[in-house]
Symmetry: C2
Subunit: 664 residues, 2 copies
């Protein structure tokens, strides 16, 4: 009795692959989204590969730098059918990787031969089989020497010589170089890794309104901002981030503290983008010219600072596109254009773009070209305003387009939104993202959140950027916490996350008067000019400068994956470490800005790679005190007004006492 | 400045989907493999779906029974962008499911309208917008009443009436029935669930050599086996599994206890399949005819027993296919056929099939047709010998073919091999699998292994079948453990796993003489005829009969996902429970067959759904004792020779004392 094939599936060559590649790690959402690394990183890939029975499986990782050819790296079996390889990532851009696996007939044969020899079994026929396998390798374009080897194995020479050749590594290697991959399996996806420059993963940001950089109360310019660069460089930041620098609309312009009507001298919110002078590719006349802007960018670069622009995809009613491309906005039945709103609030000064526009392709390309415009002027760092209110598919397309042309471009997502939406923006290609750090204040909250970010799959794709405050958010705990609260929050931000930022000079000066009823500062720079006395007593500038110097000097602080929390017996004292092979830092912070706290720490010495009985020195890089500790238990006391935090470098002693001569 | 599209990717309609479906659970290996359920199950599906911004997302689960049309079930948002739906699985076979999601413009509009009304904002234009949305729903083939609704919303009637209509659930429902899915996203995979009959997930197996069913020492037949059915039915098993019933080869036939040369009366191993009388679709003449076999199958069915066949894809040198299809075997350079070997052992009585044969398609189809042959004779349960030594792709193809035609067929994989290979065979379609239970003896080992099987992703696809022994494996701990060891192992097997089996009558009679040097019983039935005294004193038949009756009566024991371990303060006492909404069983086993043990149990009452101060009755279904317990701590003592295990039914009291009248 013979059954017909009952399914539509016929038996194709694809059925003959004997090795099954079950899964590859890391892999995000079944291969749908890329992981992220920085250039120069090594990428460790693991794959679960199963062959039936006992035949020898071989596997290679294949990877390809952007525009390059596929490269192969041998995967090594590390136990329980898991295989591993490590590759370098020498180039910026989107690399791809996959896995190829096959059953290796020659290696299987050789292993069987050796087992039979060990068991004293006759192997005459095995040698003939080996000769056929070697000849086949030759016929596949293998080394010419294989022809002779096949003849020797299958010939009538002395058995001892034939066996020596059969079991030699040299022959195995020659055959391995001409593998029989006709029935090889290739993993079902090509996986992607976005390789960015180191700044994408480790960066200190300083946000500043260029128009508030004068001391005489007048509208500041790019030139005035340029004069501020030395101060920022001295503070040790990497990136100077400017709110939108474009012409600001007059229609429905907001007054101080978001009052509905602006006076004639009110400068308006920089996020109401566009006026008669232009839109997203123009600069506000009061700030200067594009040439002035270029000058600022060059001056910053000379001081090792990069200028980051704020890209906010929305328009004031005065934006040129409102008349040039009316279809890019949503028309209402009464002929008006839909403005932004969050009932009962109305933002008549802001028109959202209609991403579903009939001319959506034209709009999407124009928005992409805003990035292209600024990239062409040398900008490579962008803070993107509210990306979560634009289609995810737009970002995935747009960031891919920009990355293909400017693989050194870095994008920070200002997405204060639901967790999965934040993460999917990272999956769509954003380099970094704002986070919930701003509101996480208790030890339990900080530990849980930082662990999720640093020690779960999230770390493969989402790079957190911790901000204690922004122009939009001035959280409750800073209102009455005093200088100690500002200090402890910036220490947490700068050490829990390799990327962090402050909104200055407001932050270092401890500005803390809230606007009643909202989570913002009074006299918000979003709506008015401010002047700042940078030398105000109590400024945190020296603490921050020291913090940034420590960050630069300590590779342990350049990433988050080594983050480890250590027990303390006081819920107001948090303790954590970061480490590399050669660098360990240990941070202890008093989370209470009002009271001194003492705590016993219980360090995870094994995690730190320190012996249980080994003495080690801890050197407080913020306060300069040094202590010698031994064993997991140590005592600390933190006084808010003196030092709310320790930032210890842990130094292991090069020699222990029993290595000294008098011990020998 | 305008950039050209830098990537090859152009902007297609696919970019316009606003909802992103990140992942669906359950999903195995990124959707590559099916999950498993039984008919009548409900399947709960969860999906992570993210829309940008704040627009209202709608989503449906789509599923399709085998050969049926796609059906839709609304997904409900359960928080944190997770959505859930539950569907029934009314039919056997391979069902498919996926997710469709889209932004719902009308629901978004309605929510905005309600917020504006609550805020006292003028909504005149909003009503006009609503009218357009309702008219569009009508134009998409919506209810005729929508035309009038649009006219009312957009008309000049009383505002109050227009608002009442605009915010009515009735209108929302009508519009929802004509959704605008032009820009809907569909999940990137159609996922698969193999729906089998209940026996696939819950079954008690009894393995028996039909040739050893006589008491006079002669070769038993199907007729003799039939006489054994009452005994097996009385023991309460569901499935009678027969080792291969085919003609046995004469060439290189093995003698008693696997000696290399058989005497003239030695019956040979049933796994050396094939002789002049035929191969995998013939029956051994000494067992009877195909008609006798059919009679046995029918007799079993009359007693609620199913016959399971052992399908071993290998051939004795006398198998007809050796001459009919020489290309299905591997020819060696000396003209011989490759026999099975595991150096230094040689199995010259067994030829493996060459799945890489030049005529591999012919071979694969012939092997599939072996299943088809026996399915056509009414067999629906197969124990497959050593599936892990055949290509995984073969099984995936073959089981799909058989399931398409016989969706009630059940396959047990005899794969004692590496864990990932065992699991991938389950992914390829095997209904059940042998496990490592046979060697797991300590509390820690049993807890870890049973938890992996019952409470991880493994439970989605791999159904364990626990066997204390097999003809191939007689583990060390049963050699000297006495009756108590046999009893405790069968209690563990029958309660830790919804599928279990014993190799009888050897097991219930406590046969325990090992063959020296191997993990097998002496006088192994694989190589010789045995006679069994079923009434031998000390037989476990009554314990096993009771155990199987309890299993049938208690739905809690019909699955594994509710398995929960409870703390005991004695490492030799294990305690676990299984439960359904209406049934709770609690099992306590003394793992030491030699000594009595006492233990304090600490029950996870919350997990069991029992109040901390609630009194409950435990009724030992094995021993009939009843106790009233209250609170998590209880004391047990287990005496191996009397009762090595308790199998408690937990009964909650219908009323507690404070519900009685005198309390009111």
């Amino acid at each position: 009795m013979t059954a017909v094939d009952v399914s539509a599936e016929s038996l194709s060559e694809a059925h003959r692959a004997r090795a099954v590649i079950l899964g590859v790690r890391p892999e995000i959402d079944g291969g749908r989204y890329p992981i992220k690394r920085i250039v120069g990183d090594t990428l460790e890939i693991e794959a679960d590969i199963v062959g039936d029975g006992h035949d020898v499986v071989r596997a290679v990782l294949v990877d390809r730098a952007p525009g390059g050819p596929w490269r192969e790296t041998e995967l090594v079996h590390v136990g329980n059918d898991a295989w591993r390889a490590t590759i370098g990532l020498p180039a910026l851009g989107r690399h791809h990787y996959s896995v190829i696996a096959w059953v290796d007939a020659f290696a299987t044969w050789r292993r069987g031969l050796e087992r039979k020899l060990a068991a004293g079994v006759d192997v005459t026929v095995e040698l003939l089989e080996g000769a056929l396998l070697v000849a086949a390798a030759h016929d596949r374009g293998g080394d010419p020497a294989l022809a002779n080897a096949a003849a020797v194995l299958g010939g009538r020479g002395a058995l001892e010589q034939r066996l020596e050749l059969a079991t030699s590594d040299a022959l195995a290697e020659l055959v391995a170089r001409a593998p029989d991959r006709r029935l090889a399996a290739r993993y079902r996806h090509d996986l992607e890794v976005i390789v960015e420059r180191p700044l994408a993963a480790c960066s200190a940001w300083y946000e500043m309104f260029p128009r508030s950089t004068r001391s005489d109360g007048k509208h500041g310019s790019f030139r005035d901002a340029e004069a501020r660069l030395d101060y920022i460089a001295e503070l040790g930041f990497d990136i100077v981030y400017l709110p939108p620098i474009h012409p600001i609309g007059m229609a429905f312009r907001k007054g101080p503290d978001n009052t509905p009507v602006a006076g004639p001298d009110d400068p308006g919110s920089p996020w109401a983008i566009g006026g008669p002078d232009g839109g997203h590719t123009s600069v506000h006349a009061a700030l200067g010219t594009l040439a002035d802007f270029d000058h600022l960018v060059a001056a910053a670069r000379a001081k090792q600072l990069e200028i980051a622009l704020d890209i906010a995809f929305q328009a004031s009613p005065d934006h040129p596109w409102v008349t040039e491309h009316p279809t890019w906005f949503k028309a209402r039945p009464d002929g008006t254009i839909q403005y932004a709103e969050n009932p009962p609030k109305k933002y008549q000064d802001v028109y959202p773009f209609d991403f579903d526009s009939a001319d959506w392709q034209g709009l999407w390309r124009a928005l992409r070209d805003v990035f292209v415009f600024w990239c062409e002027r040398g900008i490579r760092v962008f803070r993107v305003d509210n990306p979560h209110t634009k289609p995810i598919a737009f970002w995935e397309w747009c960031l891919r387009e920009i990355h293909a042309r400017y693989p050194d471009a870095i994008f920070l997502a200002e997405a204060f939104t639901r967790p999965k939406l934040m993460y999917v923006l990272a999956k769509a290609g954003f380099s970094q993202s704002y986070t919930y750090f701003t509101w996480r204040t208790t030890k339990a909250e900080l530990e849980a959140y930082a662990t999720e970010l640093a020690r779960t799959e999230v770390a493969e794709l989402f790079r957190p950027n911790f901000w204690p405050t922004t122009p939009d958010i001035f959280p409750e705990h800073l209102v009455n916490g005093g200088r100690a609260a500002f200090e402890l929050r910036v220490v947490l931000a700068a050490t829990l996350s390799a990327c962090y930022g402050i909104y200055g000079p407001s932050y270092e000066l401890g500005e803390h008067e809230p606007r009643p009823g909202v989570e913002e500062l009074a006299h918000n720079e979003k709506y008015q000019l401010r002047t700042w006395d940078l030398d105000r007593p109590g400024s945190l500038r020296h603490v921050i400068a020291r913090l940034n110097r420590i960050r630069r000097a300590h590779p342990a602080l350049h990433g988050n994956r080594s983050l480890r929390f250590h027990q303390t017996d006081n819920d107001l004292v948090i303790c954590y470490s970061k480490q590399t092979a050669t660098d360990i830092v240990l941070i202890v912070v008093n989370l209470d800005p009002h009271h001194s706290h003492r705590a016993w720490l219980t360090l995870d010495l094994a995690g730190l790679g320190i012996g249980r009985d080994e003495a080690f020195q801890v050197h407080d890089l913020l306060g300069d005190a040094r202590y010698t500790w031994r064993g997991p238990r140590s005592f600390v006391e933190l006084v808010p007004d003196q030092a709310p935090a320790h930032l210890f470098e842990i130094r292991r002693f090069v020699r222990s006492e029993n290595q000294f001569e008098y011990y020998l």
